[in-house]
C-alpha cells in the first residue's frame, strides 16, 4: 500500500478499506508466524497494550502485555524466538466489526471485535483463547496506514497456560 497522504482527503469508504487491509495483514503476520514483521505495523512512536476488561473497568493499569515502543516489541520477539519455552502453537485471528471512528488530518480511530483461537501443534484442538474489542489509532505513513496505538481489551480475564503471541 503506497503513501496515502492526508487522511481527510480520503473517503470514508477508502479509509475503511485501507484500515481493513491493514488489520488483515497484521493478523496474517501473526497467524503465519512472521513475528519479526509485527513491529513494522506500528508507527515509529507506536505502542501496543493488551489488558483485561476486569482491570480496564476498574481503571487499573495492570496489563498482560505492553510495548511502549517498536523496540520493546522487537525485544519480545527475540525473547520468544530465543529464550522462552512454550508449546508450538498457532493463533487464528478473527477480526471483524471494523468501525470507523474519529478522523483528523493524520489519524483515524477504529474499533473492532476479535476472537482468537489457539491451536497447539501437538495434540491440540482449537480453543477460544481470547475475545474482546480493540481500540486503535491509525496514522498515515509512507507505507500507508500504521498503528499509532493499539489497545486490546479482552472480555476474558483468564489466560490458559501462558500468553505467547500478541493479539
Amino acid at each position: 500500500m503506497a503513501g496515502i497522504g492526508k487522511l481527510n482527503k480520503l473517503s470514508a469508504l477508502e479509509i475503511y478499506y485501507q484500515a481493513t487491509q491493514l488489520m488483515q495483514a497484521y493478523c496474517a503476520c501473526i497467524d503465519e508466524d512472521r513475528l519479526e514483521e509485527w513491529p513494522d505495523f506500528f508507527a515509529v512512536d507506536g505502542s501496543y497494550e493488551l489488558v483485561t476488561r476486569e482491570n480496564a473497568d476498574r481503571s487499573l493499569p495492570a496489563h498482560a502485555m505492553r510495548c511502549e515502543t517498536p523496540g520493546m516489541m522487537r525485544d519480545r520477539v527475540v525473547s520468544l524466538r530465543h529464550a522462552n519455552v512454550y508449546a508450538k502453537q498457532y493463533f487464528n485471528h478473527i477480526v471483524t466489526n471494523v468501525l470507523i471512528g474519529e478522523r483528523t488530518d493524520s489519524t483515524v480511530s477504529i474499533s473492532t471485535n476479535y476472537m482468537v483461537t489457539r491451536t497447539l501443534a501437538v495434540d491440540g484442538d482449537p480453543i477460544v483463547f481470547s475475545v474482546g474489542r480493540t481500540r486503535d489509532v491509525l496514522v498515515a505513513s509512507d507505507q500507508g496506514l500504521r498503528f499509532k496505538s493499539r489497545r486490546v481489551i479482552a472480555d476474558n480475564d483468564r489466560i490458559h497456560t501462558l500468553l505467547v503471541l500478541p493479539i
Binding site: 493488551l50 483485561t52 476486569e54 482491570n55 476498574r58 487499573l60 493499569p61 495492570a62 496489563h63 498482560a64 502485555m65 505492553r66 510495548c67 511502549e68 515502543t69 523496540g71 520493546m72 522487537r74 525485544d75 519480545r76 527475540v78 525473547s79 530465543h82 529464550a83 522462552n84 519455552v85 512454550y86 508449546a87 480475564d157 483468564r158 489466560i159 490458559h160 497456560t161 501462558l162 500468553l163 505467547v164
Partner: protein, 424 residues
C-alpha cells in the same frame, strides 16, 4: 466427613518409598480422592490460607469473593472496619449469596428467597418468616441465630488476610504459623502502604502441588527461564539461598545481584551460561531503581498452602493459588506498588509487568512446566519423582542449586495428610 464424597485414602493405597532421596508418587497429582482429602486436611485443616490483601477492601463495607481451597468464600470489612470471612453458601437452600467478585455492601441478600445476612454472615432477615395473614411462615422451632453463613476465623499480618476453618487452638497464631523468617520478609515487603495495580488470572492444567514445587525450586530458575541469559543480563550463579520455616512448609528464596561464581566447571555446556547473544533494543524495560537497599533483587516467598509473594526487580505481586480440581488450578496474580511511589517508580513496575505473569518474558515457562509434568505422569501414579539436589534433608541453603525447600515441603505434606512411607 461425608464418606462417599471424600473417601479416605487408606495407607495401603499410597505407595511412598522410604528412600534416601525424596521420591514422590505421581498419584498425589492425579488421584481425585487425594484432592478431596487435601481439601479436608489441608485447606479445612490446621492451616491459615491466604484470601486477599487488606488493600483490596480498604474501607468499611468493602468485600471480595474468592476461594479457600475450592470452597467459595467471601471476605468483608464490616461497619466497624473489622475483616470477616464466611463460606458463600446460603443457610436456606444453598445458593451462592455473593455473586460479585468485589464491591461495597454491608448486607448480603441471597437472590433466591431474599434471606439477608450482615457482613459477619449472621442471618438478619427471612421474608415471610411469620407468614402472611397468619398463614405459612416458619415453625416455632425456627432460630435465626442457629442459621448463618458458615464463618471462618481471620488473621491479618502486614495487610495480608488469612482465614481458616480451624477453631481457636487447633492452629497456632498467624505469627507462629508463618515463623520468624517469613514474617521478616513480609515486614520488609509491606513496610509501606500498598496500592493495587490490578490482577492477572492464569489457569494451569496441572495439580496445584506442581506449582507449589515450582515456587520452592531454586534449581529450575536459571535452567528453565532463559530471558536474562539470552540478553546477557546476569548469571544466576549469583549469590542467593533458601530458608524454610521450622515445619518446612514455607519457602523463602532470595537472590542478590553481585559476585558471580568462578566455578566454570559447574556451568560448562549449559545453554544458560553461554554469553548472551542479544542485547535489549529498549533497555528501559529493566531500568528501575531498587526499592530496597539490601541488594536483594529477587524474592520468591511461598507460604503454605496457597500463597506466593514475589519481588522480581521492581515487580511486586501476591499470587493466590486456587485449586480447581486434581488436575487444574487457577493462579491469581495481584500486582501492587507503594502508595508513595514516584511516577518513575510506578512506571518501572508497570513496564516490568512484561517480565512476569502468564505472558512474562522471565516467567511464562512456569505454567508450561506444570503442564508438562501433568501430561507425562497421567498413567503412572505409582511411579515417582527423584528429588535430591542439595541432599535429602530439607535444610536452609546458601545457594540456588538445590531442592531443599521441595524436600521439606513433601515431608510436611505427608505429616499433614497422615501419609507414612512404605518400607521398601
Amino acid at each position: 466427613m461425608n464418606a462417599p464424597m471424600k473417601p479416605e485414602i487408606d495407607q495401603g493405597q499410597i505407595n511412598w518409598p522410604a528412600s534416601e532421596e525424596m521420591q514422590v508418587p505421581y498419584q498425589v497429582f492425579t488421584d481425585p480422592r487425594i484432592f478431596d482429602q487435601e481439601q479436608e486436611q489441608i485447606f479445612r485443616g490446621p492451616h491459615w490460607s491466604f484470601v486477599g490483601l487488606e488493600a483490596e477492601i480498604p474501607e468499611p463495607k468493602d468485600f471480595k469473593s474468592t476461594y479457600l481451597g475450592d470452597t467459595p468464600v467471601v471476605v468483608t470489612r464490616d461497619r466497624e472496619g473489622v475483616v470477616r470471612a464466611w463460606v458463600n453458601r446460603c443457610a436456606h437452600r444453598g445458593a451462592m449469596v455473593c455473586r460479585d467478585r468485589r464491591g461495597k455492601a454491608d448486607a448480603f441478600t441471597c437472590v433466591y428467597h431474599q434471606w439477608s445476612y450482615d457482613a459477619q454472615g449472621n442471618l438478619t432477615g427471612v421474608p415471610f418468616r411469620r407468614g402472611v395473614n397468619g398463614q405459612g411462615g416458619m415453625p416455632a422451632s425456627f432460630d435465626m441465630k442457629a442459621l448463618k453463613l458458615p464463618p471462618l476465623r481471620v488473621a491479618i499480618y502486614r495487610g495480608l488476610i488469612f482465614a481458616t476453618f480451624a477453631a481457636e487452638g487447633e492452629v497456632e497464631s498467624i505469627e507462629d504459623y508463618l515463623g520468624a523468617d517469613v514474617c521478616g520478609m513480609l515486614d520488609r515487603l509491606f513496610s509501606r502502604p500498598v496500592e493495587l495495580l490490578g490482577d492477572e488470572r492464569q489457569v494451569m492444567h496441572g495439580n496445584w502441588k506442581l506449582y507449589s514445587e515450582n515456587t520452592r525450586d531454586a534449581y529450575h530458575g536459571s535452567l528453565l527461564h532463559l530471558f536474562h541469559a539470552t540478553f546477557g543480563l546476569y548469571r544466576s550463579t549469583q549469590k542467593g539461598g533458601c530458608k524454610m520455616d521450622q515445619q518446612g512448609r514455607h519457602s523463602l528464596l532470595t537472590a542478590t545481584k553481585g559476585e558471580e561464581t568462578k566455578d566454570k566447571s559447574a556451568t560448562k555446556g549449559l545453554r544458560t551460561y553461554q554469553e548472551g547473544q542479544f542485547a535489549l533494543e529498549d533497555p528501559s524495560l529493566l531500568a528501575g531503581t531498587p526499592d530496597f537497599d539490601d541488594g536483594i533483587s529477587l524474592v520468591i516467598l511461598a507460604i503454605f498452602p496457597n500463597l506466593v509473594v514475589q519481588q522480581i526487580a521492581n515487580s511486586l505481586a501476591v499470587r493466590h493459588i486456587h485449586p480447581r480440581s486434581v488436575k487444574e488450578m487457577e493462579l491469581v496474580w495481584t500486582y501492587f506498588g507503594y502508595k508513595d511511589d514516584s511516577p518513575a517508580a510506578r512506571e518501572s513496575r508497570l513496564k516490568q509487568m512484561n517480565l512476569v505473569g502468564p505472558g512474562g518474558l522471565i516467567s511464562m515457562e512456569d505454567g508450561e512446566a506444570v503442564e508438562l509434568v501433568q501430561q507425562a505422569i497421567a498413567r503412572d501414579g505409582d511411579a515417582t519423582s527423584y528429588i535430591a539436589m542439595g541432599g535429602r534433608k530439607g535444610e536452609a541453603q546458601d545457594n540456588l542449586v538445590n531442592e531443599a525447600p521441595i524436600v521439606s515441603y513433601w515431608d510436611y505434606y505427608k505429616r499433614a495428610m497422615h501419609i507414612s512411607s512404605t518400607e521398601s
